[in-house]
Symmetry: C2
Subunit: 351 residues, 2 copies
Amino acid sequence: MVSTVKLAVIPGDGIGPEVVGEALKALDAATAGTEVAFERTHFSLGAARYLETGDVLTDDDLDAIKGHDAILLGAVGGVPGDPRLAGANIERGLLLKLRFELDHYVNLRPSVLYPGVASPLANPGDVDFVVVREGTEGPYVGNGGAIRVGTPAEVANEVSVNTAYGVERVVRYAFAAASARPKRRLTLVHKTNVLVFAGSLWKRQVDAVAAEFPDVAVDYLHVDAATIFLVTDPARFDVIVTDNLFGDILTDLAGAISGGIGLAASGNINPDGRFPSMFEPVHGSAPDIAGTGIADPTAAILSVALLLDHLGHAGPADRVRQAVAADIADRGDARRSTSEIGDAIAARIGA
Amino acid sequence: MVSTVKLAVIPGDGIGPEVVGEALKALDAATAGTEVAFERTHFSLGAARYLETGDVLTDDDLDAIKGHDAILLGAVGGVPGDPRLAGANIERGLLLKLRFELDHYVNLRPSVLYPGVASPLANPGDVDFVVVREGTEGPYVGNGGAIRVGTPAEVANEVSVNTAYGVERVVRYAFAAASARPKRRLTLVHKTNVLVFAGSLWKRQVDAVAAEFPDVAVDYLHVDAATIFLVTDPARFDVIVTDNLFGDILTDLAGAISGGIGLAASGNINPDGRFPSMFEPVHGSAPDIAGTGIADPTAAILSVALLLDHLGHAGPADRVRQAVAADIADRGDARRSTSEIGDAIAARIGA
Ligand SMILES: CC(C)[C@H](C(=O)O)[C@@H](O)C(=O)O
Ligand SMILES: CC(C)[C@H](C(=O)O)[C@@H](O)C(=O)O
């Protein structure tokens, strides 16, 4: 019996549609002949849609998306500095709105340095860790404001909101993830010596949940020190758990050291299953290279592997990852187009 | 005629006194026979002093320090997790208190990859940039709080406070610094797409001051993207201006890519001259290696060069930097002790 997954597809802007096209080829190849089928609904959202209609994300859009089992997103955002976009904040109004409304409290970002991939590091070692970034709190809540804007007396505040409810659940997820991995290490990254209230909450939640996972070794790093270790000894990391903003910063750096943001996949996960989880490459819409056919679809394809994992299809997920690894190992200096890479990976998955 | 500079010396904890001892040797060597003399007052502050007396920084300490022309600080902070320090936050109560009370609104952190220094990057290129980190605002203001602490309903907030007054002055300093450098580039780093109120203030201040410095080329990077470029193309940077927290993170990473935190110097500067500026290595007190004689005093010695620069003694400052560069170029694999390195550099300065 074939079960059907309702997949919302949001190709977005710039290179988003290009990489999503290849990701869908990989999804087809990985699930062909299996007991799962994907029924896709295409959502036209992003800067282009906003410029056409003035809407970023309507309540109807959101309701329709909520009716799906999972979401595949390419990238959203227009050309930086485009004056027609000055009134909208596509990142906040669309991407972050989806993460918050769909309670994606786990932002899962694995970093693996595949054999054959050039790292900017001289001696990267064995890079294989995952950042569990909190997705619904911290400085991302949009709880800021300003007074006397445009005058010499302007004050602009941003509030980072952290709750026991929100921190505990993501910390628990991170411990469970660490416990299921061979190294069983968890590193909390924060800035407890400066952000003392939020830091103390994070520290206490980690200490409390640690008691339930005696098999997991726990340590702590300040965020500044964590960036040092990411370039001097990334092999020391296994699972990193951290807040929304630190996670944003660390995962771009993590992407860079493990072969570039063109390979970095992510999942915005609602582990409760109340809302659809959303899978997307870490990279942005890169309007400067859109339409040139040089975008690397690998990050989007690896995001499909995370999607399949999340839906419980470990076999197909592994086939996607293995095909990517094999493709990467064989990448020489030859420049291939977006669709050539996508076709090659899909062919390997199907083989 | 010899002019006398009143220097407050705060050796601090751990390796602080060890590296400060070598920094003072360099200062002596650089100013011997010149028209400037340093009259030193030693301040015993830090975790050790707190454990002895229960005081972190008294009003009398602060008043006495204010009576000086400049401050040289080693490092402060006890052994992490020491239960006797649980009631105190040496970082906030001493280091940050000094930065805030003495209105150190410019935290100046140069990154130079000296010839002969190993970088963790495979192809670092020509690394020579300076981060101008704001020092008196942002998430560092200590404007946080928590309710229902220790219960499942706990909420912990941290407020980032940014003012036109505070941002404009550090941005102006950064532009002046960029304008005096050969490359004349300034990069604002922030997260304007998420921290929209603070980000908008920073962006507008940079745009406004840019008009006064038409010779400086300006660009903008989100903090996450900035970490990518710091490992893939650090040579693109000249002057980075950024907020207190982003500056903290970026400068540890910058230190790591340019040979390690053992070489990273910093100045906490009050450009108005109303209060003494404070010079310190970026590294911490490293209690794990204190007393073993293996701490590298180079960052403290380079901080002396920044101190001399600040006081208008460009010649002696350059001699310190040249001696360090020569010492580094000749460093082989031989392990030298803290004082051997300090003596070697002082001898070169004097030669
Ligand atoms: C586009 C932006 C709002 C987003 C974020 O900061 O989370 C991006 O950088 C990411 O990491 O997914
Ligand atoms: C010790 C700590 C408070 C300090 C900071 O965060 O500013 C340190 O990391 C630094 O960069 O000087």
